[in-house]
């Protein structure tokens, strides 16, 4: 049997190369989509795990702040705990490499006296040097190489408005501990770190090991009780799980999109398997006639498909890896910009992930083949040897199948309406039902439409008319294209609407003329303090009439990590930087500024189920504190959610802290760009980012586009698969319909005419795919906007129609389908009249 299987596979490969190549390509592109996203998702978590492992090493537990920092007075209390064997404090701060464009380093302040396994690749000559040399740091060998630094060199970093000179005293290679560790970790003595970048007496983390026999969960409970409400104690795996939870929606959405490509790839396998089986039905009939059982026939067919799937998986995994590598930087940017997580520097590809992608690919191929395989294996030998017209059955039942699809869709829609917002995944279920309806409805639609089409000549229209006869090939190719188009249109519409919403929101909320922050702020947030002298200097510029001040950090409400902002609003009347979705703007802002409550962002309101009047409990250094919600504001900066309070309220609750951002309002009629240029010149020795309103809007949209770049890759992959589907279908038709083509030639049809007829078939498939896909795409966009986005990200997105982008995409798809038709059309046009067989057409 295996020998027969391999021989059959070889023969199939030789006799239908293009069919084979396209089928393998379909599986490969599907697997590439899925595996690239799985690799990127895994690498994102791997980077976080790597960072945890590199920093915390073999620590059993970490004490972490619920606010930006906690007092080092807690350290002796940790040491005094009977559960703790060893403990060591850490000070962590993100800084920017001066003179480089967005190169950030994470400075790790360690107590060098505490015995700890630091992976020195080149150790300091003596500990005294590390303690006494100003700015002594150990950098990774990779970073040193990239920046052409050697031990003994100095380099400059910035933290807020400060410039700090660092001395390369040693090299430390965290990658020897864990391959995914960041190469931008910088180690220094904790006291130096506090002096250079922050404040003495504050810590970001205490790592500890437990005495043997102590249960970790018991120790966590005891330590949290002992250390008070300003900290939480977590095991490394809990921290990774939290990061995974933080990225959950992001990862889920990308994975769901990538699976659509695999779904489309399954159609290709269906079409090709069917074509191969129809061609080899005589062989199957013979096997059955000489004693092969139905089960053996089924195993033989599925065995061949598995071999094909395996080849597709092999190619797909390679393509997936390349696609992941190409998108690593974009994903990394999204994680650092939107989720404040570690940058991803390397891809993490564990074998189980490859196995999962492979199984998904082969599973997809088998799912595509199972229908035709079962159909063929169930036939009796006589009918197989006599030949048959399988299309007729699909034609007959197409109405019922379409009805079933529509009923399923309506049923799922009603169910989604009924369950309401109680089940987050309802949007995905409705989306899947919508996409499943396409292949179910397409045979009926293709059949009905082509039946009504009256050919007036022998050309494009004639080609379209003939589509209804081969529904098994044509309708499913149209369905595959429709699925890809719906994904393309749906996501384009969603992203276009989202982009326009963000653009308008930015226009409404970015009311100031000039925005000032530091180079390190994007990563360091509250640690990127602006010096009071700088703030005063900027505020005293002659054109400046008002200054808003911002202090921001991350804190916890329950288990939820949110952004907490303290604002000192001085904006002129009518230029308020908040747009409320709930609550009255004037009174809400007054109440917030008076310290009577906080504004919360829409994602937080949705995810935590908060509304105006509710109490938001945020962890502060002195324990949880309740803030009354006075308004809910639109906010598209992060799905994590956030709260805004007055600077005074923040100081009272969290203690004193530095301002990290300024918004400057200029006198009306001022040339903003001129002022910005002058300020940049004037403050050139301070690492500031001074941007005009226009600059910052552009930057916001750039970040937005970067965030959705991966989505576009998935769209393109799905479209490529669908275009391959059109080509595959036409090749199948050209092969199956040789006699028909020969008849046309015998009746006097010229080659260009046959070519046009085949282009017409391609155009017809494209037209059905585009039509169905456009309708489903709009519906899918509404599902994404109103259900998926709200449930997973918490954003309100207004629907806008990016007509131009949609029309461009539709035209591209049409051209792609036509381009995909050219090769089969050429092949078909070369059919000689001598191929006219004696059999019936």
């Amino acid at each position: 049997m295996i020998r027969y299987l391999l021989r059959g596979f070889q023969a199939h490969l030789q006799s239908g190369r293009s069919l084979f190549v396209l089928s393998v390509l379909g599986v490969a592109l599907g697997v590439a989509s899925v595996s690239s996203i799985l690799i990127l998702n895994r690498s994102a978590l791997g980077a976080f795990e790597g960072s945890v492992r590199a920093v915390s090493g073999d620590a059993d537990l970490s004490v972490l702040p619920l606010t930006p920092t906690f007092s080092e007075r807690l350290y002796p209390r940790v040491l005094a705990s009977p559960d703790v064997e060893r403990a060591w404090p850490l000070y962590r701060v993100d800084v920017a490499l001066a003179g480089a464009d967005e190169v950030y380093l994470e400075v790790l302040g360690l107590d060098l006296f505490v015995p700890r396994d630091v992976p020195w690749s080149e150790a300091p000559r003596d500990l005294g040097q590390a303690l006494t040399t100003p700015g002594f740091v150990a950098v990774s060998p990779q970073f040193a190489r990239a920046q052409e630094l050697e031990v003994g060199d100095r380099f400059e970093v910035t933290s807020g408005s400060r410039r700090v000179s660092l001395y390369v005293g040693a090299l430390v290679d965290f990658r020897s501990l864990t391959p995914l560790a960041s190469t931008t970790l910088v180690v220094t003595d904790i006291a130096q770190a506090q002096d250079l970048f922050g404040r003495r007496g504050e810590l970001h983390q205490i790592d500890l090991t437990l005495r043997s026999g102590v249960d970790a969960s018991t120790a966590i409970r005891r330590l949290e009780r002992r250390l008070g409400p300003s900290v939480r104690v977590r095991a490394p795996e809990q921290r990774t799980a939290e990061a995974a939870g933080l990225l959950g929606a992001f990862r889920l959405n990308l994975t769901a999109l990538s699976l659509i490509s695999l779904f489309v790839g399954g159609f290709l396998v269906y079409v090709s398997t069917r074509a191969v089986l129809v061609r080899r039905r005589g062989e199957i009939g013979l096997l059955r006639a000489i004693g092969a059982t139905r089960a053996q026939t089924l195993v033989w067919i599925l065995g061949e498909v598995s071999l094909l799937g395996t080849l597709g998986v092999g190619l797909g995994l390679s393509l997936g890896y390349l696609a992941a590598a190409a998108n690593l930087e974009r994903i990394s940017g999204t994680l650092t910009n939107l989720y404040m997580l570690e940058a991803v520097e390397t891809l993490d590809v564990p074998p189980r992930l490859l196995l999962l992608s492979g199984l998904l690919g082969i599973g997809g191929a088998l799912a595509g083949a199972i229908g035709p395989a079962l159909e063929m294996s169930r036939r009796n030998p006589r009918s197989l040897l006599a030949g048959f017209v399988a299309e007729e059955r699909l034609g007959r039942v197409s109405g019922s199948v379409a009805c079933l699809g529509l009923c399923m869709l309506c049923g799922v829609a009603l169910w989604c309406y009924w369950v309401g917002e109680t089940w987050r995944a309802r949007g995905f279920v409705l989306g899947v039902a919508l996409l499943l309806t396409l292949p179910l409805a397409s045979p009926y639609i293709v059949r009905t439409a082509t039946r009504r089409l009256s050919p007036r000549g022998f050309g494009l229209r004639y080609g379209m008319k003939a589509l209804g006869l081969r529904l098994h090939s044509t309708a499913f190719a149209a369905a595959a294209l429709a699925v890809a188009v719906s994904m393309l249109i749906g996501i384009t519409l969603m992203i276009g609407s989202f982009r326009r919403t963000v653009d308008l929101w930015v226009g409404e909320t970015l009311q100031a003329d000039v925005y000032v922050t530091s180079e390190s702020w994007r990563r360091a947030r509250d640690a990127a303090a602006l010096d009071e002298r700088v703030i005063r200097g900027l505020a005293e510029q002659p054109e400046v009439i008002a200054v808003d001040r911002l202090r921001q950090f991350f804190a916890y409400t329950g288990e939820r990590r949110i952004s907490v902002a303290g604002v000192g609003l001085a904006s002129p009347p009518g230029r308020v930087p908040y747009q409320l979705i709930e609550g009255e703007q004037g009174p809400a802002l007054e109440a917030m500024q008076a310290g009577a409550g906080v504004l919360i962002s829409e994602p937080l309101a949705r995810k935590a189920g908060l509304e105006v009047g509710a109490a938001l409990e945020i962890a502060t250094p002195s324990g949880p504190r309740s803030f009354r919600v006075v308004g809910v504001a639109y906010d598209y900066t992060s799905e994590l959610g956030g709260a805004v309070m007055s600077l005074e309220t923040m100081t009272a609750a969290f203690g004193r802290g530095a301002i990290s951002n300024l918004a400057l309002y200029l006198q009306p009629g001022t040339d903003v760009q001129m002022v910005v240029s002058r300020m940049r010149r004037q403050w050139s020795d301070v690492p500031l980012r001074i941007r005009s309103n226009r600059d910052i809007r552009r930057e916001v949209l750039e970040i937005f586009d970067q965030t959705f770049a991966v989505t576009r890759l998935l769209q393109v992959m799905s479209l490529l698969i669908a275009a391959s589907g059109v080509m595959l279908t036409l090749i199948v038709l050209a092969r199956e319909r040789v006699s028909e083509l020969a008849l046309y030639r015998a009746l006097g049809a010229r080659r260009p005419q046959i070519f046009r007829v085949f282009l017409g078939k391609g155009l017809g498939i494209a037209a059905f795919g585009l039509g169905l896909g456009a309708i489903a795409g709009v519906l899918l966009a509404l599902v994404l906007i109103y259900l998926v986005n709200r449930a997973y990200f918490g954003w309100t997105i207004a629907v806008y129609w990016p007509w131009r982008a949609i029309l461009e995409q539709l035209a591209t798809i049409l051209l792609a389908a036509l381009a995909a038709s050219i090769y089969p059309a050429l092949r078909a046009s070369r059919t000689p009249a001598t191929e006219l067989s004696r059999e019936s057409l």
């Binding site: 050919p455 006869l469 028909e740 030639r745 009746l747 006097g748 010229r750 009249a833 006219l836 019936s840």
Partner: protein
């Protein structure tokens, strides 16, 4: 003097085979069919009947010799020119009818006109269908017709563009005797009406007897019957 409808001069057709001797389907065939005549060619399966028809239709090219159709030497024409000759001057009828199931009866008949880019053919289609008694079924699907009816539709298709030469490959081979007889009579009648030349291949001596001339082909050699 008008040229013969079909002229074969020393025509041979050899098919090369990879692992065997080349197959000589026709051997030094010479044939002259004046316009307006009907010719029946009989012979066993594999004797070369269909090859002869294919060469006459310009579907295939001879390995040796010369084929002339209505005065045109097919050997001097390229593929596109031969195709146009076939479209405009030759009507083909097949044993298995070769009707397209996705087209209606009327559209099947109209196919040559569509291929020729004609616009106004509806009247002629109905006229022909009426002539064969199928006008009321013009809109029906062809798979609802009987074998005899299908062949009548195929004859209409072959006649639509008024070809001067009709080539029929076993036109009654897939029909029962009664239907076969009727179809053959119809075909001869319609050919005669238009002064068309008809060459048909058949197994049936009875059908062959209905033609003006009878020829037989044995192992690629053509001889009077």
């Amino acid at each position: 003097m008008s040229p013969p409808a079909v002229l074969f001069e020393g025509v041979s057709k050899i098919y090369p085979r990879p692992d065997a001797e080349p197959l000589r389907a026709l051997r030094d065939v010479s044939l002259r069919v004046p316009q307006g005549r009907s010719v029946a060619i009989t012979g066993r399966s594999g004797s070369g009947k269909s090859t002869l028809l294919h060469l006459a239709a310009g579907i295939d090219e001879p390995s040796e010799g010369r084929v002339e159709i209505l005065g045109a030497d097919l050997g001097r024409l390229n593929d596109a020119e031969r195709t146009l000759r076939r479209r405009d001057q030759i009507g083909l009828i097949f044993q298995f009818f070769h009707l397209l199931p996705h087209l209606s009866v009327g559209d099947n008949v109209a196919l040559p006109a569509m291929i020729a880019g004609e616009r106004d053919y509806g009247g002629r289609v109905l006229e022909l269908l009426e002539r064969v008694g199928l006008a009321d079924r013009a809109r029906e699907r062809v798979d609802r017709l009987s074998g005899g009816e299908m062949q009548r539709v195929a004859i209409c298709r072959a006649l639509l563009r008024g070809p001067e030469l009709l080539l029929a490959d076993e036109p009654t081979g897939n029909l029962d005797d009664r239907n076969g007889q009727r179809v053959m009579e119809l075909l001869l009648e319609l050919a005669a009406e238009g002064q068309r030349t008809l060459i048909f291949v058949t197994h049936s001596e009875e059908m062959a007897a209905m033609a003006d001339t009878r020829l037989a082909i044995h192992s690629g050699v053509l001889e009077p019957s």
